[in-house]
Symmetry: C2
Amino acid sequence: MAPADRPDRVPRTGNRILDALPPADFARLRSEMDEVSLPVHQVVFDAQETITSVLFPLSGVISLVTPMEDGNIVEVTTVGNEGMVGVPVFLGARSTTVRAISQVSGRALRQPVDAFLRAIDDHSQLRAVVQRYTQALFTQISQSAGCNRLHSNEERLARWLLMSHDRVGADRFPITQEFLSQMLGVRRATVTVSAGILQRAGFISYARGQVTIVDRKGLEGASCECYRIMQTELVRLLSY
Amino acid sequence: MAPADRPDRVPRTGNRILDALPPADFARLRSEMDEVSLPVHQVVFDAQETITSVLFPLSGVISLVTPMEDGNIVEVTTVGNEGMVGVPVFLGARSTTVRAISQVSGRALRQPVDAFLRAIDDHSQLRAVVQRYTQALFTQISQSAGCNRLHSNEERLARWLLMSHDRVGADRFPITQEFLSQMLGVRRATVTVSAGILQRAGFISYARGQVTIVDRKGLEGASCECYRIMQTELVRLLSY
DNA sequence: CCTGCTCCGTACGGTACCGTACCGACAGAG
DNA sequence: CTCTGTCGGTACGGTACCGTACGGAGCAGG
């Protein structure tokens, strides 16, 4: 199953929630999970749909978006290997008003809802970690709500790139301006302009659906404070 | 203490979370609470500040806002007697990045953080209700995040008035355009224009810091879908 | 090599806001 | 009854977007 050379040493999965658990706890959980791959643009669950399993991403980026009646969507937060998808289940719901969509392809450990809820009951450590991750999610969404209203497209684009950069763990990753525009809730043409500014400033480079983060510090300077606030709070809450 | 004519019958407080509890549970909780009044514009707790007690509003409206570095703020959600202030405590945190500020004066039951956490441990019913309220809050904030990006000032103003109308339980309540502008993250002058449109349409009337909801149905038509989505989800999650 | 497709750059008129500012109307204090 | 502060209406230039649209550049398949 996994390359553990000692029986009581569970190898890190790469998911920070699962990796925070004691080895024995994780072993029991792992037996109820299967590893799945998430192709780009896959809808993990849609608004109003019954959630049947939760996901612990190992790689890639999943976006939670709020879909509107006219078909427009806006990202409210981003999930990677620092978190999980399916927090509403933890909060006693089986559906939600947001859509979870894979934005950068990756892999994840999937656990059926029933098993997850049993695990939450049985493992106080898991409960505690998920609780604090839920709080981090709160911070991120609240900050997004303000950011969406007050900050410029360019600042928000920089923030999005930084958050994704953290989660993919590589300087280069695939993302088209078309999908970026949906995440940011603007026209594609507006993304082109903002991305062009960041590119000419030497912070990123960009070609045919592939971004490269060239100057991370520069990008942080171009972003609004929201990136820093979300990141700081995430670190604070998940430093067990 | 309270005008209960039978010893085992606890009178409704008016707060929907507390009212969902079995009488015996509530009685024990109540002994650890004190009733406070919340004058308008009082900061219940500020961003980064240690939260020492949670509040269960009986009347009035409290706004959760995201404060930005430049001093601007934007409302992310509204809390009234359907909920509580201090959900981060439930999620294992003692502080948050949002500010809670009383927007329409009212009264609330206040419980120290320690007592609240003991109560959460001891009373599964309270835990379940707060959990589901937390999920409702998630929905509201997520919807706000999208709404703030995609919908016009006029639609968002109508939504804000409807949400407050539900919570104050009166057709007339005090709110200045100045504070509305802060909630909506726009200039006061923009509120004047939008409010003027709603007033000329006969949906509201407005004078010197007092709004009156004249035609609620009309206002619902002027609002974006976000009001309905938040309201529906709240009812669904809190119908125990 | 051509075709078709995806992705990105650019343009142009329109609009919903912005920052700033001024002024009038009303209410409460004295 | 005046004074003073709060509240709301309006204006004006500026700007960051919008909707729409066209075209070019690269890549993949036939």
